[in-house]
């Protein structure tokens, strides 16, 4: 090995490049493990599309409640949003905790010229990429099952990405504060993610719920995502409601990212 006389080769990447280098590192992991993650993230939506969309859907007459579409086509855009919400939640819990606590890989990164804030930017960018892969996989499966109603579904892919990120960013912020073994995450999965998926309009219109429950539903990011995704697919989305839903999700993303950045810096640069 040669070290003597050799100049130090390290440089300081710019902020955008630094974040992309973090993505590159996470991509190196994904390249080795994508097969198992594809299966685990797509099995559930496929089961829902087949069992509920096609199976149970055969008992549902296309009507005003389904925008005149077969039930599976009514379900698909909302299920896309729900799937990305679930994927984002999972990706924002244990993998983050592990990088802080078990593998401690975040500490390895911030010992290099890359800062905690740049690390977080890379982690969120990676989350977006990961959600995009899932969305494309979902799109392919849904198309094969005849669940894609029309070209509006492509816009639903974009809105579902935003939904996923709006759910993921605040959870990343929370996960960055956890010192325990992550038992708290099960509470998130059971009492937030699952009810949100059941009652945010994924499977049936929210109007079917008792009136007093509906304001609670309006607070969930998934409802806003579902309205957007289904609205563009059915062609029923008004400009003003669309703006409201987008602003809500964007606000959640911005606040979540801000808190995540603060928590990353607090934990890694003490």
């Amino acid at each position: 090995m040669t070290t003597t006389g050799q100049r130090c080769t390290g440089t300081v990447p710019g902020p955008a490049r630094a974040a992309l280098l973090v993505v590159e590192g996470l991509w190196a992991w994904y390249r080795r493990n994508w097969r198992s993650t594809v299966i685990s993230t797509l099995v559930q939506p496929v089961l829902f599309l087949v069992a509920l969309g096609i199976g149970f859907g055969s008992q549902v007459e296309p009507g005003p409640a389904t925008g005149g579409l077969p039930y599976v086509q009514f379900l698909a855009p909302a299920l896309l949003a729900a799937t990305l919400m679930q994927t984002a939640t999972f990706e924002s819990t244990y993998p983050i905790l592990s990088a802080f606590k078990w593998q401690r890989t975040y500490w390895a990164v911030v010992a290099t010229p890359i800062s905690a804030a740049q690390l977080l930017a890379g982690q969120l960018t990676w989350l977006a990429a990961r959600l995009a892969f899932t969305a494309v996989g979902f799109l392919a499966v849904a198309a094969a099952l005849g669940a894609v109603a029309g070209p509006g579904f492509l816009l639903a892919v974009v809105f579902s990405l935003l939904t996923g990120l709006a759910c993921g960013a605040p959870i990343v912020a929370y996960a960055a504060t956890i010192e325990s073994e992550g038992q708290q995450f099960n509470v998130i999965f059971r009492f937030i993610v699952l009810p949100m998926m059941m009652f945010s309009g994924t499977f049936f219109p929210v109007e079917q719920l008792p009136g007093w429950v509906q304001p609670v539903v309006w607070l969930t990011p998934l409802w806003h995502g579902t309205e957007l995704c289904r609205g563009v697919t059915l062609g029923t989305l008004g400009a003003l409601p669309a703006l409201g839903h987008l602003l809500y999700l964007l606000a959640l993303l911005v606040v979540g990212a801000y808190l995540a950045r603060r928590n990353f810096v607090r934990r890694l640069e003490v």
């Binding site: 070290t3 130090c8 390290g10 280098l21 590192g25 080795r32 390895a108 640069e269």
Partner: protein, 310 residues
């Protein structure tokens, strides 16, 4: 600027976490090409100091320059030229050995071609070429440690920081690691090492500071510290626990100094064999006895009244 060429210079450096003062104002200088050590027990403030020098933990008091720059203002630029081996391994255990080097090198803005070539040299240096395509998870502790050191060299650092490099390794793995660190030292890499093993400090360090309770209590080369704070030889008289205190008065005048430990007496003297013979002549009957050279452990005991490893 470090016009005098010191790579690290601290004046009254302090680190406070809330009410807890981990580092209580230390002064030090690390010169190019030397192997500098922090010796002290757990909780002495070594790791906090190392994290400040690594530019990942802002100081809360005093002055610090690393490579002539202030970590508060030039953290990334300094970190680009450092190699860091943390106390706990933080390899990506789900990647291969080689991938760990590739990914890490990229964080320093190095090209893929450069990182690939450098990784092969480092795999060879760390004697991991045969395991290059294996996942890290099943590797032994010693191999992981060698990989962590190889990783820290990916950017050809001017200063290598090693926090407890061999803690938790078996003797064979430790010796292999020391051998690798020796080679780096011979190549002119400046090393800063923290350890609570006195043999590690003696093996690796040209100069060291002894830390205790967040302060530096002594500074010098291992030889200087030993001659300043201990005698040439030490006679250890081992007794059944409790019996050592009763024997102390009989031997107290046989040595320059006597330390009473829970199971033995340490007699500091220039001539251990004569002291042992004299003790026998006085009817002192220890369970066993040993004459040895004084070590940094004795220095630490002298300075703090406590042993390094409890």
């Amino acid at each position: 600027m470090a016009g005098d060429g010191a790579l690290v210079r601290a004046r009254g450096l302090g680190k406070r976490f809330g009410d807890f003062e981990a580092v209580r104002g230390i002064d030090l200088e690390v010169r190019p090409g030397e192997a500098f050590g922090f010796l002290g027990p757990n909780g002495a403030g070594k790791s906090s100091t190392m994290r400040m020098i690594s530019c990942v933990s802002p100081r809360t008091g005093g002055e610090l320059t690393v490579l002539g720059m202030d970590p508060d203002r030039a953290g990334p630029r300094i970190r680009a030229r450092l190699g860091v081996v943390p106390q706990q391994d933080n390899l990506d255990t789900e990647l291969t050995v080689r991938q760990n080097l590739h990914v890490y090198g990229r964080y320093f803005g190095l090209s893929k071609a450069h990182v690939r070539a450098r990784a092969e040299e480092l795999l060879d240096f760390a004697q991991l070429t045969e395991r290059a395509d294996d996942e890290v998870e099943p590797l032994s502790g010693g191999m992981k440690r060698r990989l962590t050191i190889a990783r820290s060299l990916i950017n050809d650092p001017e200063l290598l920081l090693l926090d407890e490099p061999t803690t938790g390794l078996d003797p064979q793995a430790r010796h292999l690691l020391w051998d690798r660190l020796f080679r780096l030292k011979q190549q002119g890499v400046t090393l800063i090492v923290t350890t609570h093993y006195m043999d590690e400090a003696e093996q690796l360090c040209d100069r060291l500071v002894v830390m205790d309770g967040g302060r530096i209590v002594a500074e010098g080369s291992p030889g200087e510290l030993i001659s300043r704070h201990a005698t040439r030889e030490v006679l250890e008289l081992r007794f059944a626990p409790g019996a050592q205190a009763a024997a102390e008065p009989s031997v107290v005048d046989l040595a320059e100094r006597v330390e009473v430990l829970p199971d033995r007496l340490l007699l500091y003297t220039g001539d251990g064999e004569s002291a042992l013979k004299a003790a026998h002549d006085r009817g002192v009957v220890p369970v066993s006895s040993l004459v040895r050279r004084a070590t940094l452990e004795d220095v630490f005991l002298r300075l703090t009244g406590r042993t390094l490893v409890d």
